[in-house]
Amino acid sequence: MAFRERIEKNTGNIFRSSEEGKYFPVVSRYTAGVAGQKFLEEIKENEKIFGTRCSKCEITFVPAKLYCERCFARMEKEHWVDVGTRGTLYSYTVAYEEKDGSPKETPSIIGAIKLGDGLLFHWIKESSADDLEIGMEVDAVFKPKGERRGSLVDIDYFKPKK
C-alpha cells in the first residue's frame, strides 16, 4: 500500500486545512517600505540602482535602506548614492531542477552581484555557466519601460559585460 493510501485510510474523511470554498483565503500583501519604495521607483522610472552610504561606518548598503544597521544613523536624501548598473559577479549557482524535482529544460543561473558594498541576487542570462567567472563584470538589463511595475524584476536580468 502506498504511503498516501495508508494515510488516507484513516484520515480521508476528516479535516483538510484548505478545503475549497471553506477556508479563510488570506494572502500577504507587503509594502516596499520607506526606503524600498524609492529604491524601486528609481529602477522603474530611471533605470537606476540606488544604495545608501553611511559615511561614519563607510558602508554602501545595496539595496538602499532607511537606516545604517551598525550605528543607527538615519539615511537621509544626501546618503542616497547611484551605484550604477554594472556590478561584479561575487558568486553564482546553476539550478538544474524545478521546484517539483523534475529537470529544468534549460538550467537557470542565479548570480550574487556586488553593487556598492551589497549583493543583489538576480538572474544571469546571455551566457552559459561555462563562460562565467567569479569577479567578472555584469550589466543590468531592464525590461522595457511599459512593462516595469516597480519590482525587483523590472531588472530583467544581468549579462556579462560585452
Partner: protein
C-alpha cells in the same frame, strides 16, 4: 538578582496600514527609545526582541529578519513570542538579561505589522485551532472571545452596557495618547449600536487592527543612576500558562493571570495589590477583557468589578486607574507592540510625564499585563519608582 530599571521608551504611531516595513517600524521605535535617554546603539549590550506569529508580518523566522531594525546587529539578540502575551513577556525576558548580571543594558523591542494580511489577519488565526476537534467547524478567533464574554457576563449578571462603559472609558483615554490610532471620542451608545460580529461581541467591543512598534531601554542600577534622576524600577515579573485546551478553562475567570500576577507581586513584596497598586494596565483586546483581567490581577473582587467601574473606581482620578494609556482598545493592537505600550505607559506615568493622561496623586506603583498564546499565557510586570 540585580535591580533593573526602565530608562527610556519610544514608539511609532499606531496605524491601520503603515508604509514602513516591519524592520523600519522597529527601527523607528528603537531609535526613539534610544533618543529618549540620550543613548547610542553602541551603549546597548543586548537585545530582547518580541514579535507574535510570523504569519502577521508574512515572514518566517521574523526574529532574525527584524533583528537589525531592533538594533541587534552584532549583539546577543533573542526573540520571545507567546502571541498576545509577547509585549510584556519580552520585558520579563529583557529583565533577566540584566538582573542576571550578564548585561548592563538591554533594548526590548516589540513589533507587529498586521496589515500585510489581506483581507484580514483572521485568516491566519484559523490555523491555531485543533485540527481534529475544532477546525472542522472552520472556527474564528472571535468565537472564543464571544464565548468568554457571554459566560463572564452570565456568571455575575453583567450586561453589555456594563462592558461598553469599560470600553468607552479606556478608548477615550487614547485621545490623549500621541501614538493612538483612535482619533474620535467613542460613547457607550456608539459601542452598543455598532455592528454585531459574533454575539455578544460587537465591532466596537474589539480593539482595531494595527501596525506599530514599541521599544524600551533597560539598565542595571549603576547605569540607570548615571543616565537619569528618574529611573523606573522593575519590581516584579511573572508569567504562566494555563491549559492549552481553551475549552477546558473557566471562561469567566482568568486563572492563567492569577498565578502570573502572584508571581510578580511576590517578587515585588506586594501582599494586598488592590491597596498597593496605583495604576493598572490590564490586557484589553476586548472591553470585557479589561474587567476580566482586573479580577485576575487581584485588583477587583470577582463579581464586584462592574459596581466599582460604575462608581468611578477605575477612572483616571479613581482608586486604580485602568488603562490610562487608552489600551489596545484605543491606542491600537499591533499584537506584540500593544503589550509593550503598557510598559511604556507605566514608565511615563511613574515619571509624571504622561501629559493629559497623567494619573493624579503621585502614583508610585503600577502593573502591566499581556495575555495570549492559545488564550492560556499571561505575562505581568510590576513597576515602581
Amino acid at each position: 538578582m540585580r535591580k533593573v530599571a526602565v530608562v527610556g521608551a519610544g514608539m511609532t504611531k499606531f496605524v491601520r496600514r503603515a508604509l514602513e516595513t516591519p524592520k523600519e517600524l522597529s527601527f523607528e521605535a528603537t531609535k526613539a527609545a534610544l533618543d529618549s535617554c540620550e543613548m547610542k546603539l553602541e551603549d546597548i549590550e543586548c537585545v530582547a526582541h518580541g514579535s507574535a506569529p510570523d504569519a502577521f508580518d508574512g515572514i518566517h523566522q521574523k526574529g532574525e529578519y527584524l533583528a537589525d531594525g531592533c538594533g541587534g546587529w552584532n549583539k546577543p539578540t533573542m526573540r520571545v513570542f507567546n502571541g498576545g502575551a509577547t509585549g510584556v513577556h519580552a520585558v520579563c525576558h529583557g529583565w533577566y538579561h540584566v538582573a542576571s548580571g550578564m548585561f548592563d543594558t538591554c533594548l526590548v523591542v516589540c513589533e507587529e505589522k498586521m496589515s500585510n494580511a489581506m483581507p484580514h489577519a483572521q485568516g491566519f488565526f484559523l490555523t491555531i485551532f485543533d485540527h481534529i476537534t475544532e477546525r472542522p467547524l472552520y472556527p474564528n478567533l472571535l468565537w472564543i472571545f464571544a464565548m468568554e464574554m457571554n459566560r463572564y457576563m452570565e456568571a455575575y449578571g453583567y450586561t453589555k452596557e456594563d462592558m461598553a462603559i469599560a470600553g468607552a472609558l479606556i478608548k477615550n483615554h487614547a485621545l490623549n495618547h500621541p501614538a493612538a490610532q483612535l482619533t474620535e471620542k467613542v460613547t457607550v451608545e456608539d459601542i452598543l449600536n455598532s455592528e454585531p460580529m459574533a454575539y455578544p461581541v460587537y465591532r466596537l467591543d474589539v480593539s482595531p487592527v494595527s501596525d506599530g512598534a514599541v521599544a524600551v531601554v533597560l539598565a542595571s542600577e549603576k547605569v540607570a543612576r548615571r543616565l537619569t534622576d528618574k529611573p523606573v524600577w522593575i519590581e516584579g515579573v511573572g508569567w504562566n500558562v494555563d491549559t492549552s485546551y481553551w475549552t477546558n478553562k473557566d471562561l469567566y475567570y482568568p486563572r492563567y493571570l492569577e498565578v502570573a500576577a502572584k508571581m510578580a507581586y511576590d517578587m515585588a513584596g506586594i501582599r494586598e495589590p488592590h491597596k498597593e497598586i496605583n495604576i493598572a494596565e490590564p490586557y484589553d483586546p476586548f472591553n470585557y477583557k479589561a474587567l476580566h483581567h482586573m479580577e485576575g490581577l487581584q485588583l477587583s473582587p470577582r463579581g464586584k468589578t462592574v459596581e466599582l467601574l460604575r462608581d468611578g473606581h477605575f477612572d483616571l482620578d479613581g482608586e486604580i486607574p485602568m488603562c490610562p494609556s487608552g489600551g489596545l482598545l484605543g491606542v491600537g493592537n499591533p499584537i506584540a507592540a500593544a503589550g509593550t505600550v503598557k510598559i511604556a505607559e507605566l514608565f511615563y506615568q511613574l515619571r509624571g510625564e504622561a501629559g493629559k493622561r497623567q494619573v493624579p496623586g503621585d502614583p508610585r506603583l503600577g502593573v502591566a499585563h499581556a495575555w495570549g498564546d492559545l488564550m492560556q499565557a499571561s505575562s505581568v510586570v510590576v513597576m515602581g519608582k
